[in-house]
Symmetry: C2
Subunit: 184 residues, 2 copies
Amino acid sequence: MNMAEQKMDETKAAGAAAEWIDGETKVLEAPGDHGAELRLWLRLLTCSTLVETEVRRRLREEFDSTLPRFDLMAQLERASDGMVLGEVSKRMMVSPGNITVLVERLAESGHISRTTSPTDRRVQIIALTPFGRAEFEKMAAAHAGWIADLFGRLSTKDGAVLLDELAKLKRSIVGSLGKAGKPA
Amino acid sequence: MNMAEQKMDETKAAGAAAEWIDGETKVLEAPGDHGAELRLWLRLLTCSTLVETEVRRRLREEFDSTLPRFDLMAQLERASDGMVLGEVSKRMMVSPGNITVLVERLAESGHISRTTSPTDRRVQIIALTPFGRAEFEKMAAAHAGWIADLFGRLSTKDGAVLLDELAKLKRSIVGSLGKAGKPA
DNA sequence: ACGAATAATTTTAAGCTTGAAGTTTTTCGA
DNA sequence: TCGAAAAACTTCAAGCTTAAAATTATTCGT
């Protein structure tokens, strides 16, 4: 079976509404001697994109929500005293401007509250409302089930090995980013 | 060192322009017994987000380009006879409507050409122009170097183990998606 | 006391993305 | 032959995302 056929077979196995074609094979023509890293990167990206796309689809269909909103609520779930926008931005790894709009929408829908800090009028403090917390708990339970299902065919041993190897990869990435800039 | 301190230490190691705070620890409160899968998912997501964000930043700063444009050009790079929009959409794992706009922009900038199929007037065929191909080769070479650098602290053995474990994870994901829908 | 520097968020313009509806074309079955 | 169904792409509304500029507030040094 040639590569194109193998690729199409994998596509057929996927039940997602929109058919997708696996892009990992384009790495073959990578310049120089970087085939191994590129292949690793594409596979990492393919895995995370598949999961993310499916999670987004289910959040929309089952809860009429979005992944960024879910993520923001997850940040607030453990912060019973609320959180400032700057910290939310850092934890979600997105720009402050994006947080402003996300917060606006969640405030409008009643999921979170926002107040100005009593000690610094530049600072906004946001927190889940009781309604928001209840909604989040339902989404979080469903989300955990989806992830368990998607990852469920992986053996416990393979899962542990993968977790450990991803930790090493993460240290490589963070280390590389660190050397390019100066520590915070 | 408590968890918050450990988290801050990792943040300090990162040299990205915007400070980020590692979100992996929020998994601790996962409902039920799904902590392991959620932890794995968050780490996978953190790794791919870190790399993607850095690649986007460098493409913008060094080539005044974007990741979707680079990705589209990568699809076309091996298709010397061009490619139809529907296949591009599948390979890039994005909706057809998005491809329409991306193609429009790359055509305007002279990187790709678009023609109507001689045999089916619904179908558009796009291909890299000579200019586009030259630009892509420069970006691809740089991109490969960036990925090699980001992944470079991972040993060859660890890289091979990770690639293999990600293949297993991918099969779990694809298998799970498959059972939820019907094959294409 | 006061002006400059810094900080936190908001606003802006530009780009990407989705799903659904719309348009045009081709295919298919009666 | 012809109308319905399907296909390929485009358009649309809504949401997300970035970096940079703008606004408001606080801090700091003289």
